[in-house]
Symmetry: C3
Subunit: 174 residues, 3 copies
């Protein structure tokens, strides 16, 4: 199994920053795969600001749905990819009425075949009270299943709180 | 203190699976105590599916409220019990207008007297923003108090994230 | 850097109790800085009950907004302060239309200059599904940013679950 990493955590817990630092530790050309689609001007601006923050040595791809083929392509080029994030990817899957379990299974199969490390970012969303809306409950369940399956596929799993990592799986990393 | 275990975590974090694995490690007849009542056909089906997943060596009891007497009975027979879960038990207590603090106190007293290990599953629900409804806030507070008191009664406490355990109390277990 | 501590956790996770125990371990005159304002009789009563629980060796100050000057004053007197909590402080800042990022920056600058230890309590609120209200989302983001910045300023960071501490930063403490 290639050394893939899953970075879990809540909103504003420092997941993206952590994933970027982990990717840069590999000293190869890093690629940032954004799953969010820029839907308005405000979002466009935020995305541009994040891109500038990462610096010019980063490539950025927008991949709302077809993660597996994008990862296979980048891995062939020997690049290390950050996928930010699987929560928005899941939300895109549900929006376009794809089956999240099937897509997760495909992603896990792809990860097992890749020769280059991937750092995946995902939200933990199941630690509040039961959501009032059926969609909220459905999303929460799907996210929990996705996180469990990805965690099983990755050699390293970290849980971020307030910018600080806890190691759930693998050796603690700086 | 007999070696009781509390398995905490969010929705779909792998708590039940973990509790079942822990119970099976004792190599005695395991009993699954479900606190949920099958209220409709869909739930009936899900419960049946879970029962099949656990396998035929498991006994299943439905105990929506009277945990202490059920646990005492099973412990006398030398069985190891999984209680899945205290969040639904708490919700049942509140629904039937029982005092959660009193019931928790009784449960803790029972646990201290038992000679066989119990594995209790409970949800952590206090890590989102303040719930909008008064009932939501009341439930969240009651769940937090219950978890603190049970954690104090158990020799092992684990916190599950994405199917992976973090040890909060006791020695790390496989 | 003086030995400041940040105690994070969800609702009813034992944060306040933990902060009080940590403060008492210093064996100097402890001061409890409450950021909540007693708005009604019920709250007045709860605050009085908590005060009695802490005991007579504790001093209590109510500081809804101006934390930096209060902390500087107490540190000069050689006292150890518990700030309970930054979540209500953040909520007060937003209510009075102050800039949370600016106030957090000022607090961090103050902490770096103090010669006496401060124990700060804050809630983790980002581990549920996306809040439905824009204010909820804004609060969640602001709380996450605040927690990250305070965690960077403190030598010790702990995450409480069910009354039990996990060490996020620094050496594990009793």
């Amino acid at each position: 199994m290639t050394d893939h990493t899953l970075v879990l955590g809540g909103a504003r817990s420092g997941k993206s920053r952590r994933a970027i630092v982990r990717a840069e530790s590999y000293n190869v050309h890093p690629v940032y795969i954004a799953t969010a689609e820029p839907l308005d001007d405000e979002m466009e601006e935020r995305i541009a600001a994040h891109r500038e923050e990462r610096g010019e040595h980063w490539c950025t791809l927008e991949v709302p749905l077809l993660l597996s083929s994008a990862l296979r392509e980048q891995a062939k080029l020997g690049r290390v990819c950050v996928v930010d994030c699987l929560t928005i990817w899941l939300s895109n899957l549900m929006h376009y009425e794809k089956d999240p379990d099937e897509a997760t299974h495909e992603l896990c199969t792809t990860l097992a075949e890749l020769g280059a490390p991937i750092i995946l970012v995902s939200n933990e969303v199941g630690l509040g009270i039961v959501p009032e809306s059926p969609l909220g409950r459905r999303f929460r369940d799907a996210q929990g299943r996705l996180n469990q399956r990805l965690a099983a596929c990755c050699a390293q799993v970290e849980f971020m709180v307030a910018g600080l990592p806890m190691t759930l799986k693998g050796e603690p990393q700086i």
